[in-house]
Amino acid sequence: LNAAPGRAPRQRVRFLQAPAPGGGGAVELVAARVPVLADHPLVRGPQFRKLKIGAGHRLDVKASGVFVLGIGHGNKLLTHLYNCHLTKVYTVGGLFGKATDDFSDTGNLVEKTTFDHITREKLERILAVIQGTNQKALLMYSNIDMKTQEAYELAVKGLIRPMGKSPPIITAVRCLQFALPEFQLEIHCLHETQQYLRKMVHEIGLELKSSAVCTQVRRIRDGVFTVDDALPRTQWNLQSIQEAIRNCQLKVETELERTLG
């Protein structure tokens, strides 16, 4: 970054002494535009001594996926994006038959159960109930008076969303893959933590009269940023980062405009 050509030095109009066109000895003032010495690279030093990088929504050690960072002025945009309360999408992989103490497959074993009675239909029924109860929570925590016409209209459009602090809410779940004992879910949620999603997998196992552990939590979307916008490990270099920032700028601006006005 510092090797790139920096800002051009500021120009200033100074009245310099120059020999007069007439006879020797006499000096007159001539106006000239000169660069300001304070902006000289040797005086100024490297332009970037440190960079302020802020992190977006948390992603814990055992999970993977899209992780949003803000650089410099982008940190202010991060705060605005947080206040938009947009949903995040995860793919969560689960395994039936085991229950562990930290709900993931690397924890201490608590219990082993049978799972041959579980069918995709039963799983989808449980997922429908989870969606239903979370839908209720969505309406309750959005702090809108249910008796107004405005609440009715927002509910019809599906735009009711808690715009403040709330416990984790799941807006949509669906089963992507089901091959006993493994299964994969796609979860859209708000204000969640990855451990909450693992606990949910465990509770789905309990509800189906068996047990389940979570094998994988991967965030595939965080607000407006999807996996396609995210940079993999091999592309963590200046060019890719600058290009990614440029590509996402418009998206972020439109989303902020739409939600916060």
Binding site: G97, K98, L109, E111, K112, T113, T114, D116, H117, K122, R125, I126, A128, V129, Q131, G132, T133, Q135, K136, L139, M146, K147, T148, Q149, A151, Y152, E153, A155, V156, K157, G158, A172, R174, E207, L208, K209, S210
Partner: protein, 454 residues
């Protein structure tokens, strides 16, 4: 405890001293191989076998002091720490001996019926001042009957073949009830001041503690559905004809006059010759649906229920309601509002009161559709649609094909089951631990039949 902690500290000290001396070996954390072996050796528990059946349950909520919920400890607490519960705001499980196939809520009482061949087929609870639950012999005085029945109590039906006949359906009105059997016709009990039980009105008859249960058999074909309005009864036969008896001052009997009818009489008007597949009534207005998807209405129209065809407030002959909403599959009548369900799965409401489209829609004579997104339809689940609609006196209920129950309307004494005491102006999910199969709405209480998830 103090001693336990002290003992552990002593043991730790001994272990440390032994370690330093080289006489004991510290326990290493278990290796991956050891963990794997321990996991494989762990016992496997079985909570549900491969052929585990889903269980059928009954959930009740609403006003409990009439005994209509069937939980005696809400009215007369049987333990010192229990307090009387006037209103049950959320679904509460009711233990029943048999699987309940049909339920009906009346004005302060409930009937539950099972499809079994056992001798006890129908249970009743709640108000019994007009013997709408049959004669419930009091244990204190063998000659008198109970006026309030707090627990589901068997109703003795005078069946000819009690071990062969099955009860198909029950229905309850303000103070009378109807029980439909498969081979022995319809049994009626309760108040008969307006002939709603289908027998001749006896002057100054005392209904309280009465043993009389009347049997109705004379219809042109087998009766397949019985419906109770507030003080009248409707019978639908297999051939698609409708019979009515009871109070007719609002024209709810549909027989062309405004008098009392004490014998079930066939209806004509616009439904003559039409194959009716469903009839509904709860207050003083009645709706019928034909096999072609047309809706017919008669009865009270003070709340614009039939204002699309006539300006009069009472209609005593069935009239065809020319709605252009598609083929109608099911209709339900409430006290002041009506709801229909079309073949596409859309729900239309009209009438007066809280209709379900926000606080601004108070009355309409023309059906208005409730957007399907309020019933759980979304891009994620485009197959969700409403499967059944039901009506109480001032509340509506809709069941989706995913087994979810949505309610809206006036929350009279907690009858909506949302957990809040406020009225609900648009459809709201009721959290029931199971898939809701059927629901019966009353004036201030509701009963639902639910299957467990697994």
């Amino acid at each position: 405890s103090q001693d336990g902690g002290g003992l552990r500290a002593v043991m730790a000290g001994v272990a440390r001293r032994l370690l330093r001396r080289g006489l004991a070996v510290a326990a290493r954390p278990p290796s991956t191989r050891q963990l794997q072996e321990a996991e494989e050796a762990a016992p496997v528990f079985q909570y549900a076998g491969k052929a585990a059946r889903r269980k059928d349950r009954v959930f009740v909520w609403g006003f409990s002091y009439s005994g209509a919920l069937g939980v005696p400890s809400f009215v007369r607490p049987d333990a010192g720490w229990k307090k009387p519960r006037r209103i049950q705001p959320t679904p509460y499980r009711l233990e029943t001996e048999e699987k309940i196939s049909s339920a009906a809520c009346g004005y302060g009482f409930t009937l539950l019926a099972s499809n079994t061949r056992d001798i006890t087929k129908v249970w009743g609870m709640g108000l019994n001042k007009d013997s709408q639950l049959g004669f419930q012999r009091s244990r204190r005085d063998q000659t008198k009957g109970y006026e309030y029945v707090l627990e589901p109590s068997p109703i003795p039906l005078p069946l000819e073949k009690p071990q062969q006949t099955r009860v198909l359906q029950v229905s309850c009105g303000r103070a009378h009830s109807l029980v439909l059997t498969d081979s022995e016709g319809v049994f009626t009990m309760g108040n008969n001041a307006y002939g709603q039980c289908g027998r001749k009105v006896v002057e100054d008859e005392i209904y309280s503690g009465s043993h009389l249960i009347h049997q109705l058999k004379e219809f042109d074909s087998r009766v397949v559905q019985v419906v109770c309005g507030q003080d009248h009864s409707l019978f639908r036969t297999k051939k698609g004809t409708v019979y009515a008896c009871g109070w007719g001052a609002d024209g709810q009997t549909g027989l062309g006059h405004y008098n009392i009818t004490s014998v079930p009489t066939k209806l004509h008007g616009d439904i003559a010759g039409v194959n009716i597949i469903q009839v509904s009534s709860y207050g003083d207005c009645c709706l019928a649906v034909s096999d072609e998807g047309d809706v017919f209405g008669w009865g009270n129209s003070e709340y614009l229920q039939l204002a699309s065809v006539t300006e009069t407030t009472q209609v005593n002959v069935p009239r065809h309601l020319p709605f252009k909403i598609g083929k109608v599959k099911e209709a339900a009548c409430g006290g002041t509002g009506n709801v229909v369900l079309t073949e596409e799965g859309n729900v239309f409401v009209w009438g007066y009161g809280i209709l379900g489209k926000g606080p601004n829609l108070i009355e309409t004579a023309v059906p208005e559709m409730i957007p399907p997104s309020l019933f759980g339809w979304s891009d994620f689940s485009p197959d969700t649609r409403v499967a059944h609609v039901r009506c109480g006196l001032s509340q509506f209920a809709a069941l989706t094909n995913r087994g979810e129950l949505f309610v809206w309307g006036k929350n009279l004494r907690g009858c909506l089951g949302t957990g809040r005491m406020e009225d609900q102006y648009f459809p709201w999910r009721v959290t029931v631990p199971g898939e809701v199969v059927d629901v019966a709405c009353g004036v201030d209480h509701t009963v639902s039949m639910v299957r467990s998830f697994t």
